[in-house]
């Protein structure tokens, strides 16, 4: 019984890992655009090429977007043409991104470099952020490392190459609600409600990066 339970659990976790690795992870929020989206960028200093319409922000760079906040040490931005959309950003050094999804859950990502691209082709909008260099993305469910990590802002998905993932699911919390009240059992509150002697107090599981 113990062995069957343990194997079932591992299969579920590893299989889940495969799915995460082979498909896009629906972990990040799909952006919901306001009528006019306002993006703020601040920094200590900046350089603007007024002909090429390119800006390089330096030192304590902060980007405040309706869907995301980003900080880094240098940010290169192609300034949009009249009424256009910022279509290319390159953030360098100590890149930190934070966003809150539709459920109010915080998503967090860090990397050495992040490249944002926005493009409309044949009426289809593509909006992606590619993280490279010690890239890590953390959602409410997983912590994901990869080289690179691709965040599709339209689909709200994360895709990682050479990925390494940690599931954050708290089995204790998840299973407590499905069983009888603690007061009616003989199990200590701090432990899980699994049958005694099976698996206790597991709240993290690492999926090897070679599960693809």
């Amino acid at each position: 019984m113990k062995i069957i339970y343990l194997m079932t659990l591992l299969v579920l976790v590893i299989d889940g890992g495969r799915l995460q690795a082979q498909t896009n992870v629906s972990a990040m929020p799909k952006p919901t655009r306001a009528t006019n989206a306002v993006t703020h960028i601040s920094s200590v200093s900046a350089e603007f090429d007024l002909v090429a319409r390119r800006a390089v922000y330096r030192s304590n760079v902060r980007v405040d977007d309706p869907q995301m906040k980003l900080t880094c040490e240098q940010l290169t931005a192609d300034l949009p043409q009249s009424g256009g959309h910022v279509d290319h950003l390159v953030a360098l050094t100590n890149v930190v991104m934070d966003s809150v999804d539709e459920k109010g859950q915080t998503n967090h990502a860090t990397s050495d470099m992040a490249v944002y691209d926005y493009k409309v082709q044949n009426g289809v909008t593509n909006e992606t952020i590619t993280l490279t260099g010690n890239a890590m993305a953390e959602t409410a469910q997983v912590i994901l490392w990869g080289e690179p990590i691709l965040y599709d802002r339209i689909k709200g998905t994360l895709t990682a190459t050479n990925q390494h993932m940690i599931f954050k699911q708290n089995l204790t919390t998840a299973l407590v609600n499905t069983n009888a009240p603690v007061a009616q059992t003989n199990l200590p509150v701090a432990k899980t409600n699994f049958p005694p002697g099976t698996i206790q107090n597991i709240d993290r599981m690492t999926v090897p990066s070679n599960t693809q």
Partner: protein, 154 residues
């Protein structure tokens, strides 16, 4: 009135001067003059040589020694090759080096797109006319307004 100086045309419009002549953009200015409502224009290279590339203007200019101009209400307008205005730089005042083509100020500066969708502010700037590079030294704040394009994806 336009005077060609190394691909740079200088237009002095409605200026009041005391021996201050417009052709001083690349030459030593008469330092006793004073000008108001002046502008300096540069045109694109061929085949767009008839189109303005940028226009530098000011409400008031006070010539200084060494080819310097102290400009009040400094304004730099960049134009696209389709004649539409592009970026506009404004500063309450600055010093313009007419010999080296450099404008600078420790004061406040605003950069905005002609349609108002982009706006940048900062303190302390340097503008290099030859490369059209603008450096802002401190407190850079940018705002970009983007119209909604819907939520679609491939």
């Amino acid at each position: 009135m336009k005077i060609k100086l190394n691909n740079t045309f200088l237009v002095l419009s409605a200026f009041m001067a005391l021996n201050f002549i417009a052709a001083t953009v690349r030459a030593q200015p008469n330092t006793t003059g004073h000008a108001s409502d002046f502008s300096s224009v540069e045109y694109f290279e061929p085949p767009h040589q008839q189109l303005m590339k940028f226009r530098l203007s000011g409400a008031e200019a006070q010539p200084q020694a060494g080819g310097l101009l102290v400009i009040n209400q400094f304004k730099l307008e960049m134009f696209n090759t389709n004649c539409t205005p592009g970026l506009i730089v404004k500063a309450p005042n600055c010093i313009y080096d007419t010999i080296h083509g450099v404008a600078s100020s420790p004061g406040h500066l605003q950069l905005e797109s002609a349609d108002g969708s982009s706006h940048v502010e900062g303190d302390g700037f340097l503008w290099l006319q030859a490369s059209h590079n603008l450096y802002i030294s401190n407190n850079v704040q940018s705002v970009f307004v983007t119209a909604s394009k819907g939520k679609t994806g491939s």
